[in-house]
């Protein structure tokens, strides 16, 4: 693989990671969703680039699916949801922005340390992509942990899915089955989530998940 192809692939993966950090410090829902769209868009670009450099045209289908589902369909539904629910405009963070950024940096350091050691056994862009993907995955987890709002937890979960697609497309010649199914599962997840969000709203008059804690079965 030429250095140029390598650099472009790195640049795109790096941008995805950067956008993950941007998601961490967003404290309102609409901008958070915008950044998620941007991340999915860059991911679609990155998949297209992989399709070109690996000479695997079927990856273009994955890119197309990403584009349709995560750049158009899901954000549209979530925007509608945010508007219809009239969700208050601030995202409640459990941990402050500063500590969560520092935690995020620590997680990225961890994933680089785990994967970017000398592993000649894994060739191509796979190794770097895996490192980036693991970072994005851990940041998505961090976001799910630090947010209380159901919608931002969902966005955190979809960021995790983005990281998985990044890893799967970076691995050369990975059977196509998995990729379609990741995209498919995103769609199914959306249906599940959508249904739950509506019902949570219906039952609790809020999408703040912490309110659910009152209904724990543990209390006598």
């Amino acid at each position: 693989m030429s250095t140029f192809a390598f650099d472009v692939s790195h640049f795109l993966s790096g941008t995805i990671l950067l956008l993950s950090f941007a998601m961490l410090y967003q404290d309102r829902l609409p901008p958070l969703l915008n950044i998620f769209i941007a991340q999915s868009l860059v991911l679609a670009l990155s998949i297209t680039w992989q399709a070109y450099t690996q000479n695997e045209p079927q990856l273009l289908i994955t890119a197309g699916l990403e584009l349709c589902v995560k750049v158009v369909l899901i954000p549209f539904v979530l925007y509608t949801l945010i508007r219809r629910l009239k969700i208050h405009r601030t995202v409640e963070t459990v941990v402050g922005i500063g500590p969560s950024m520092i935690a995020g940096m620590a997680l990225v350091g961890l994933s680089m340390a785990l994967i970017l050691r000398e592993h000649p056994a894994i060739g191509g862009t796979a190794r770097e992509d895996l490192a980036f993907a693991l970072s994005v995955l851990l940041l998505g987890l961090l976001m799910m942990v630090t947010r209380r709002n159901a919608v931002s937890q969902v966005i955190g979960f979809m960021a995790i899915e983005n990281s998985l697609v990044l890893a799967a497309t970076g691995a050369k010649g990975m059977p196509f089955v998995v990729e379609t199914c990741v995209a498919f599962s995103a769609l199914v997840a959306l249906i599940v989530i959508g249904v739950f969000l509506f019902r949570i709203r219906e039952r609790f008059d809020s999408v703040d998940v912490s309110i659910l804690d009152h209904f724990r079965g543990e209390q006598p």
Binding site: A121, G173, P175, G217
Partner: protein, 482 residues
Amino acid sequence: MSALLNPAGAILLVPLLAGVILAFIKNYRIASWINLAAASLTLLAALRLLVWRPVGLGSLLAVDDFNIVFLVLNAIVGFTTTVFAKDYLAHEMSSGHLKPWHIRFFHPLYQILMGAMNLAYLTSIAGLMWVQIEIATLITILMVGIPRTHESLEAAWKYFILGSVGISLALFGTILVYSVAQPVVGDGLPAMAFTTLVANAAKFDPDMLNLAFVFILLGYGTKAGLFPLHAWLPDAYAEGPTPVSAILSGLLLNLGIYAILRFKMVLTANPLAMAPGPLLMTLGLVSVIFAALMLYRRSDLKRFFAYSSIEHAGIIAFAFGLGGPLANFAGLLHMAMHSLVKSGTFFAVGNVMRLKGTQKMAAIRGLTNSHPALGWVFVAAVVAIAGLPPFGLFTAEFLVLTAAFQQQPLLAAVLVLGLVISLGGLFWRLNPMAFGEPSPNAEDRHGPLWPIAINLGLVLLFGIFIPGPVALWFQHVAKLLG
């Protein structure tokens, strides 16, 4: 048509076709009969697999000694659960707890869930197995939310968040395994097939393989409910409909452990990679002790048995972590026995809840006096779960302990402590529920007991004697697991 006549094809296609047909059937009575018919056909096909094993299923599917145990188990428990669910749902509908639109999609989801689990066992491709486990997870999330109460919605949401995070970690682990296999095996399907992975594991990069296994263990361990990944489990078991609790504890728990074992075989085939044993043993022992202690503070009947499932998942993980033919044999036997006993117990719990109209243990008193048949079946189920003779779980736990005292006497002592604590917890709670002055009933009649009798009867049979061919077969699989 020929695919339907092949038992391996039938256990996949029957649930799928039934699921599609059921999606169009509005009347729940008709739907429950079709559901029962499909479960019976699947059971017949699975039993046929025992005597006649198909070969040459293509590159995606394979029946081997390991997965056949679970396919048969899946079909048996799937069948008895269907019988129980038929009665349970009919009662919940007539008593007004559930409305027709609540369970409109119960039957199609149930069949697709069974099909997905069967395919997860049957496939030899790691990626396809993951997809099926993901489908099973999504379906059970929807099923837990069926009652539409505050509690069931919270349980489903918690299960959704933790379950999908777990399943993401498992996929990342699977991708890592592919990326270490790809330079050695080459592109495409072979680098995802368990047989080629095990055959070539010695040439894989050990560090990356270790990392992959950690992700797999955390990911699929969430499904199995190992501590500290168990947080969703008691809620989902307690708040979902009882047939779903039976499926979650009887079948999905096994699937999680099965997936971990498949990857453990790859890891053990590489001499330079870390030994997965200590990791599994630690998670297992911590789960046993934690769950045993938690048994004492429960007030809810289903939550009580949910913690008992965590304990048993811990024992199973410990057995496989210990390794060696004896411990692996015990682990396999334990998985099979626990699956039968725990689903049977949840059927009994469903009937008890129907009689008393509550799942609070304090309101359930003197069952053997008011309803001797159900009462004694319930007692038998708890005795079986506690791992006492003459039931099969005793054999399994005894073998685990024998192996543990041979290999790791100190850890065996900890396991004994956990088992004793949980035994105390189980009987401390069972005593007032089963004996003494009966508490008032909400209703006089309970559902049929024969599905419980089938499950417990099989466990009793295995407790008294393990049929020769079955024992040989388990021994063979135990060797495969290393």
